[in-house]
């Protein structure tokens, strides 16, 4: 996590334009639509699991113990609306970045040859950690933090503050260590 570049801080803050409250309200409305249409809120991490299971079943069913997995889950993995939702999320990110040219912040990142802000290893390792955690907890920032909390699920109200608390603690520690190593000054 020491790979995070601090210099973009104040710049990134003023960019993006759209009010976070407006974006949040729109996400809330979208989730209401999902509650009605699918009788379930938006959830993302489950689709990663079912897609991984589907791939495993084709590629290496024995190594991945897919039969035991299906027995334990009581349900074969499916490519369902949640998987389409993840594909849509990729397309939506693409469409928004192309249509609006991306926010100024992402413009920096999207430019060819731009310095990556994080090593690929940090991105992949972090992604792996959090996905395993999400499947252990049966939900992620969308399934628990957005949809679960909105319906008053006890599990989500346990998961969400704890997850942000741990992340916050570690990110602050990392930033502190980075600053100390930078100018050998103890930052409180």
């Amino acid at each position: 996590m020491s790979t995070h570049r601090q210099s973009a801080g104040p710049v990134a803050k003023t960019e993006g334009g759209t009010s976070p409250y407006l974006i949040g309200a729109a996400i809330g409305l979208l989730n209401i639509f999902a509650f009605k249409a699918f009788r379930k809120g938006i959830g993302v991490s489950g689709a990663y699991e079912s897609s991984a299971a589907l791939v495993a079943r084709h590629v290496a069913p024995d190594a991945a113990h897919v039969n035991d997995y299906v027995k334990a889950r009581k349900e074969p993995p499916k490519f369902n609306w949640e998987s389409w939702l993840v594909l849509g999320t990729i397309l939506g990110g693409m469409a928004a970045a192309r249509t609006f040219g991306g926010s100024a912040a992402s413009g920096i990142d999207d430019r060819a040859g731009a310095e990556p802000k994080r090593s690929s290893l940090a991105s992949a390792a972090g992604g792996a950690m959090l996905m395993f955690g999400a499947r252990m907890a049966d939900g992620c920032t969308s399934g628990h933090a957005l949809s679960g909390t909105a319906q008053g699920a006890g599990s989500s109200w346990l998961f969400t503050p704890l997850m942000f608390g741990v992340g916050s603690f570690l990110a602050r520690r990392a930033r502190g260590a980075q600053r100390r190593s930078k100018d050998l000054r103890w930052q409180k």
């Binding site: 993302v44 889950r73 991105s123």
Partner: protein, 192 residues
């Protein structure tokens, strides 16, 4: 929208995803700096966005539920899985600056780090699939079932919850009363 066919459902899922991804990107959330900025306290956009989304969603969910148009379906309260998962998730979010949804939006918007994060996520999901049969018992130690904070009893027409099968043992251990179980599922659980 009572019973949708599979095609409609997939199409709506895709459409929902497109709007979701676009909103994440427009809100600056498809950027690891925004998420790490929230964790370090330098940038409050994540809190503002999510707080509003939760408030609006909760209000809408309540209205829908009162009119019987949606269900209450809390994910099971498995203390071990939730606490262990939250710690791993928080750490992974601090390291990568993403979560499963924002990484997808970031990958779509052309960020390489989003693609790498998604690759790591798929790899971990595969490891989870391979280990789940053995992990399941540990994750569900001391489970309290589906806990709803407001109003207690989830008013839903009870589609048999997947985890009902594992609850009886845990419920017996903790002295809690399990919900009536589907006998054949129960038998299946013992057989394992």
């Amino acid at each position: 929208m009572a019973e949708m066919n599979k095609f409609t459902q997939s199409a709506l899922g895709l459409a929902t995803g497109i709007v979701f991804g676009a909103l994440l990107q427009r809100g600056g959330l498809a950027d690891s700096r925004t998420i790490v900025g929230q964790l370090t306290g330098d940038d409050n956009r994540v809190a503002k966005t999510m707080g509003t989304a939760i408030a609006v969603g909760a209000l809408g969910h309540r209205l829908l539920r009162l009119r019987g148009l949606t269900t209450v379906d809390p994910k099971p309260m498995n203390p071990v899985g939730l606490v262990g998962g939250a710690v791993l998730f928080g750490a992974g979010m601090a390291v990568s600056g993403y979560c499963p949804g924002t990484a997808a939006a970031a990958a779509g918007s052309g960020r390489r780090e989003g693609v790498w994060a998604m690759a790591g996520m798929f790899a971990a999901a595969a490891v989870f699939v391979a280990t789940y049969p053995r992990l399941k018992k540990v994750l569900e130690v001391g489970t309290l079932g589906r806990v709803h904070l407001l109003g207690g009893d989830p008013a839903r027409p009870a589609p048999p919850p997947l985890d009902a099968v594992v609850r009886p043992r845990a419920a017996r251990d903790t002295g809690l009363q399990a919900e009536p179980l589907q006998p054949q599922l129960n038998a299946g659980a013992r057989g394992r």
